[in-house]
């Protein structure tokens, strides 16, 4: 469910009472609405669903998945 794809905000504008962004999805650009994520700014990576930005993506959050078993044993939590 919920197909959401990452894209990079190229520019932001206000038009017809809506905060909008031009987002690049890797060679494909589309106008996306930022009413759901008003503080998104050019350069941000955002997750897009049904023409709206849902969240800023934390590019640094990809850690080595194999560390899961070690990290849990050492008491660190991901939540």
């Amino acid at each position: 469910m919920c197909l959401a794809v990452p894209g990079r905000v190229e520019s932001v504008e206000e038009s017809q009472g809506l905060r909008l962004a031009r987002v690049d999805f890797g060679g494909v650009r589309k106008q996306i609405c930022l009413e759901t994520l008003p503080d998104a700014a050019p350069g941000d990576w955002v997750l897009v669903h049904a023409g709206f930005a849902l969240q800023k993506l934390d590019e640094g959050a990809a850690a080595n998945a194999l560390e899961i078993f070690e990290s849990v044993d050492s008491g660190e939590s991901g939540g």
């Binding site: 919920c2 959401a4 759901t36 997750l47 023409g51 709206f52 849990v72 939540g79």
Partner: protein, 369 residues
């Protein structure tokens, strides 16, 4: 696209799968909630990499599958009216109502249009003041903010010809229903990553406390799902039960406050029937009184839809609860296929039945005990 490809890396997936197999010392049954996760699992064959002890049940997280028959029938009745433009996400076009689907309605002359965004439907209403535009608003909490934003914009533009046929659903009541069903074997959930991107994780904490089961908020790429499984297995092996976030790049505990505020302004919780499961208390959203004039059911009060009846043979309820694997259904692949679906889990791209039909060459007939 590096942000996606990294999470499909076959080497990392195989290594992590091996680690999961080694770590599980007892049988564990997990349920992935979201249809998109089911789709990835079956398409990539991830369930075949988990070994003998870890098994996955498929959950009810397919908003298309759980849209009530009555809602579909109302959409069809609206579409049949010459003054109405019925706008919908593409997912809904082939879902069977009592008599045909929206695609066949279009063949009969109904003005049915696919939109990518609910805002496109609202903009259409502004461009065509002589028509009444109705948007079929389905989806989980992931989609509700987009619909809420479109509703608010239509209000500020003073559009009197834009309406919503609302059928939004909420995930937490569905998880309660799965856990409450007799014979439930679910020991941990992989929660829906994009729903939690919006909603955050706070509403899962009471569930974890009450039922003492791990809930790992998981993404949709193969490595995400495997990592979600690994985290859930690690908790189970250690006898822990807490809410954990695997999908760290998108999910924060507080979710997206701006999106939630939009939803809160336009919608409120309501009891809602889930097709195949029944009425779930607080299981959906409805328009608040301040937005009632956008409600298609109020704007078209003389809407008559035929008495909705599900085909007796369709066992969507059991499939959505994880109690029946689709290939074990007697109708699977015989009277029920994507071209002639008996129920929604076969027609939706994310439905468990469609996923099995599409991807498993010859799944053995097994009743999930």
């Amino acid at each position: 696209m590096s942000l996606v490809d990294a999470f499909r890396d076959p080497v990392a997936v195989r290594e992590l799968a091996a680690a999961v197999r080694a770590r599980a010392t007892r049988p564990w049954t997990l349920m992935e909630v979201c249809g998109g996760q089911t789709h990835t699992i079956l398409e990539s064959g991830l369930d075949q990499l988990l070994g003998e002890r870890v098994s996955l049940l498929h959950g009810p997280g397919c908003p298309v599958c759980v849209t009530p028959l009555a809602t579909l029938d109302r959409a069809l009745a609206l579409a049949a009216r010459p003054e109405v433009v019925l706008c919908s996400f593409g997912d809904m076009l082939r879902v069977p109502g009592s008599r045909g689907d929206l695609l066949t309605a279009r063949a009969r002359g109904a003005d049915v249009r696919v939109v990518y965004s609910p805002l496109d439907a609202a903009r259409l209403a502004e461009r065509e003041p002589g028509r009444r535009v109705v948007f079929l608003a389905v989806g989980f909490e992931t989609t509700a903010p987009a619909v809420a934003a479109a509703a608010r914009w239509a209000r500020t533009r003073g559009l009197a010809n834009f309406h919503l046929l609302v059928s939004h659903v909420r995930v937490p009541p569905a998880l309660e229903a799965v856990l409450a069903a007799p014979g439930c074997r679910v020991q941990a959930f992989l929660a829906a990553g994009h729903v939690c991107t919006v909603m955050g994780t706070a509403e899962y904490e009471p569930l974890v406390r009450r039922h003492r089961i791990p809930i790992v908020v998981t993404g949709f790429e193969p490595l995400d799902i495997l990592e979600g499984v690994a985290r859930a297995v690690a908790q189970l092996e250690r006898g822990e039960s807490r809410v954990e976030i695997q999908y760290r790049r998108a999910v924060r505990r507080e979710g997206n406050p701006a999106a939630r505020a939009l939803v809160h302004e336009v919608f409120e919780s309501a009891d809602r029937p889930w097709r195949g499961i029944g009425v779930l208390p607080d299981g959906g959203l409805r328009l608040r009184p301040a937005y009632a004039d956008l409600d298609a059911e109020r704007a078209f009060p003389d809407l008559t839809a035929p008495a909705a009846e599900e085909p007796l043979a369709c066992r969507a309820a059991d499939v959505l609860r994880g109690a029946l694997r689709p290939p074990a259904c007697p109708e699977f692949g015989r009277t029920c296929t994507p071209e002639h679906p008996l129920g929604a889990p076969m027609v939706s791209a994310e439905g468990a039945c469609a996923a099995y039909f599409s991807y498993r060459p010859a799944a053995p007939l097994e009743e999930h005990a």
